[in-house]
Assembly symmetry: C2
Homo-oligomer: 89 residues x 2
C-alpha cells in the first residue's frame, strides 16, 4: 500500500486494483495511515486521492534515529563494561 503511494497520488480504486484485498479493506487501511499522519487525502470529484504525508514520515524517521542512537550507545557502554569485567578476571 505505502509503496504504491510513494509513486504519487492515487485513488482508492487504483490502489485496490491489483491487490488481493477488497476496496473497503484498502479504505480502512488508508484511514489508520491517515490517523498516523502518514498519508493525506483530498477530494477530486467523486474520487478521493491519497498521497504520502511527510510530517508523519519525519516523525517516524526521528523516532527511529533516536532509537538507533540509544541502542548503539547502550550497546557500546555495555560492551565496554563487559570488556572491563573481562580484564579484571
Amino acid at each position: 500500500m505505502f509503496k504504491r503511494l510513494r509513486a504519487g497520488a492515487r485513488s482508492v480504486g487504483e490502489i485496490a486494483k491489483g491487490m488481493d484485498v477488497s476496496r473497503p479493506a484498502v479504505s480502512q487501511h488508508l484511514r489508520v495511515l491517515k490517523e498516523a499522519r502518514l498519508v493525506t487525502d483530498r477530494a477530486e470529484g467523486t474520487r478521493r486521492l491519497y498521497a504520502v504525508d511527510t510530517t508523519g514520515l519525519d516523525e517516524v524517521r526521528k523516532w527511529l534515529d533516536g532509537f538507533w542512537d540509544e541502542t548503539l550507545a547502550a550497546f557500546k557502554t555495555a560492551a565496554e563494561r563487559e570488556a572491563a569485567r573481562e580484564r579484571t578476571r
Copy 2:
C-alpha cells in the same frame, strides 16, 4: 524487552521481573528474537543469559536505510512530476 537487553546481558528471570507478563511469555519472545538474529543466548549454570545480536541489528538497519532511500527518492520524483504538471496548467 529489547530495551532491557540493550543495557547488557540479562537472564530470563531478571527480564521477566518487573514486567507485567509471565516468565514463559518472556521465553517465547526471546525465541522469536533469537530466530530473527536479534539476540544471542549463552548458558551460565542453570541460568541462560540473553544479549543483543548485532548481526540481525545491522540487517534491520540496512533494510530501513534502503526503505528510506527508496521512499524519499520516489517521493521526490513524484513531487517533481507534480510540479511539472502544475506548470503546464
